[in-house]
């Protein structure tokens, strides 16, 4: 090994440890018996699901169900609205196209906190506060710019010749989209859908502002789980939060780099 290789290996090892160690510790401490956590042993050796069980009964179960409903609803609504727009941006040249794209980038950059105040006030008036549909509407506002931009770059990456072949064989433009374009785009769009789900799953500010009894998981953690005096219960909450994140990296890892390489 050359000296430069040793330096490289050391750096890589340090960066990987820096990323993984806190996750491993949080997971280990979340399943350690209380007595062991409050002892001086850095690495616990016993296993218990007590903290998970307490958290579960405290309301994590309902919160997870709510989070899943809101996440799926957000993916469905933002894809229904965003896919056609993304396709139009990728395939058509029309006046004001760049302006529209810039506007969508701007809405994506805009702090979601701004919409939380106004939405809470409006939802209180309409009786949509503390409801899951209300939260789906809010999360869709946050996710839609992302879905439009990412699907536009996915569609732009699909060769136009394949679509033209479809027209030659007599398909309508709707037929071409559903039988040629969409199947080709499906893997990348699935990765984007998972990430959209995570955007909703992870979002805490709007969720805590708009709900009171119908908490999503992060809102539940911020208000209830944080109030427990037992540290390992908090770590158990962190572990529940990161499970979908880890699954996402595991399943969609191949799309990670391409997803962020395009469109900027």
């Amino acid at each position: 090994m050359r000296p430069s290789d040793i330096v490289r290996v050391a750096f890589v090892a340090a960066l990987v440890t820096w990323t993984l160690l806190p996750i491993v510790i949080a997971v280990l401490y979340s399943v350690a018996p209380e007595s062991e956590y409050y002892s001086d042993k850095p690495i616990p050796t016993s296993f218990t699901l007590d903290h998970m069980r307490v958290l579960w009964n405290l309301g994590a179960r309902d919160a997870i169900v709510n989070s899943i409903i809101v996440g799926i609803g957000t993916v469905a609504l933002s894809f229904a609205l965003g896919i056609p727009a993304g396709y139009a941006l990728a395939r058509y040249v029309f006046p004001g196209r760049d302006l529209v794209k810039l506007g969508i980038v701007a809405t994506r950059m805009f702090p979601v906190i701004v919409i939380a105040v106004s939405l809470l006030k409006t939802f209180l008036r309409l009786g949509l506060n503390d409801t899951l549909p209300g939260l789906i509407l809010a999360h869709t506002a946050m996710a839609l710019p992302f879905v439009v931009l990412i699907s536009s770059s996915v569609f732009a990456g699909i060769p136009r010749e394949l679509e033209e072949a479809g027209y030659v064989f007599g398909l309508s433009s709707i037929g071409v989209f559903f039988r040629i374009t969409l199947p080709l785009a499906a893997p990348s769009l699935a990765a984007a859908a998972m990430f959209t789900f995570l955007l909703s799953w992870n979002e805490v500010f709007i969720a805590s502002a708009l709900t009171l009894t119908n908490r999503t998981l992060p809102a539940f953690i911020l208000t209830s789980a944080l109030a427990t005096p037992t540290d390992p219960i908090k770590f158990a909450a962190a572990v529940l939060m990161i499970i979908p994140a880890l699954l996402f990296i595991l399943i969609a890892r191949r799309y990670l780099i391409t997803m962020w390489a395009v469109g900027r």
């Binding site: 949080a26 433009s173 953690i221 880890l246």
Partner: protein, 286 residues
């Protein structure tokens, strides 16, 4: 007929639902927020502003201060770390892809989870304290949390924020670096270029757009820092988004919450504008 023409009816119809939605749920709330902050009873009022600036209950100046301090610490540190990560991971080696995926994990992890994860590292019974005591470096734990340890809580927040958001910077820069053709480096090798020459004259110029994009995104999001601070320090370390949350959710001062939201928005827009101006200026020089 192939949809390659310059027709505009179809794209307009395809775009309309999304644009309408964003108008109702983003553009209108922005206007509404201005109204909530300054026209609470239908008439212009500066009551929210006066509360923000002069009320003894308001933590506005601290919130501005800590938000800017955090952004000024977190964004440069994570950018340098992401650049180092890109450098050591650019050339393929066995296990490289796995390392890239591992470094990307925090991009999917929420700020709530990141705050709690670092709590498990740094609390008095946390991993860091236990290891330091086990090694005999310290006798009693170092306390990071609680009002009297505010400076250390700030350090804990910086660690958690860098840990959480370095991934997005890394992915953007690494993705940009992947687009550089290997031939460029091979040509440089042929001419005997050193590591530093390759870094200075090939890699950095080529990934400059990625670095700029990452910097813009991260700075704007740094102004919205909330959950990590809320979990690790509560209002002991006030930040703008935390004060917005407190006013909105805990004491229901909608006008003050709206004003905080507007301040974050103005801060973001100014920064975005300055970045774009700087980039364009440099672009014209070249």
């Amino acid at each position: 007929m192939a949809p390659a023409g310059r027709e505009w009816v179809k794209p307009a119809l395809l775009m309309a639902p999304a644009i309408l939605y964003l108008t109702i749920f983003i553009v209108y709330p922005i206007i509404d927020t201005i109204i909530i902050a300054f026209f609470p009873e239908g008439r212009f009022s500066t009551e929210s502003l006066e509360y923000l600036l002069y009320s003894p209950l308001s933590k506005f100046w601290d919130a501005i201060k800590f938000t800017l301090i955090l952004a000024a610490l977190v964004v440069p540190i994570e950018t340098v770390l992401a650049l180092i990560a890109t450098l050591v991971l650019l050339q393929p080696f066995k296990g490289r892809d796995t390392a890239v995926y591992i470094l990307s994990i925090p991009i999917a992890i929420s700020d709530v989870a990141a705050g709690l994860i670092w709590y498990s590292m740094l609390t008095s019974k946390g991993f860091v304290n236990k290891v330091l005591i086990e090694l005999g470096v310290i006798d009693s734990p170092i306390y990071f949390f609680g009002y009297e340890f505010r400076d250390r809580a700030l350090l804990a927040i910086v660690l958690a924020e860098v840990w959480r958001s370095m991934a997005i910077v890394f992915i953007i820069i690494f993705a940009g670096a992947q687009l550089i053709h290997r031939e460029l480096f091979e040509a440089a090798d042929v001419f005997g270029a050193s590591f530093w020459v390759k870094l200075r004259h090939i890699l950095l110029p080529m990934i400059k757009p990625s670095i700029q994009a990452a910097l813009i995104i991260r700075t704007l999001f740094a102004f919205q820092v909330f959950a990590v601070v809320w979990i690790l320090a509560g209002r002991d370390i006030p930040v703008l988004a935390g004060e917005a949350y407190y006013n909105l959710v805990e004491i229901h001062r909608f006008d003050v919450a709206a004003l905080y939201a507007l301040i974050i928005a103005i801060l973001s827009m100014t920064t975005g504008f300055l970045y774009l101006r700087m980039l364009r200026a440099r672009h014209l020089e070249v």
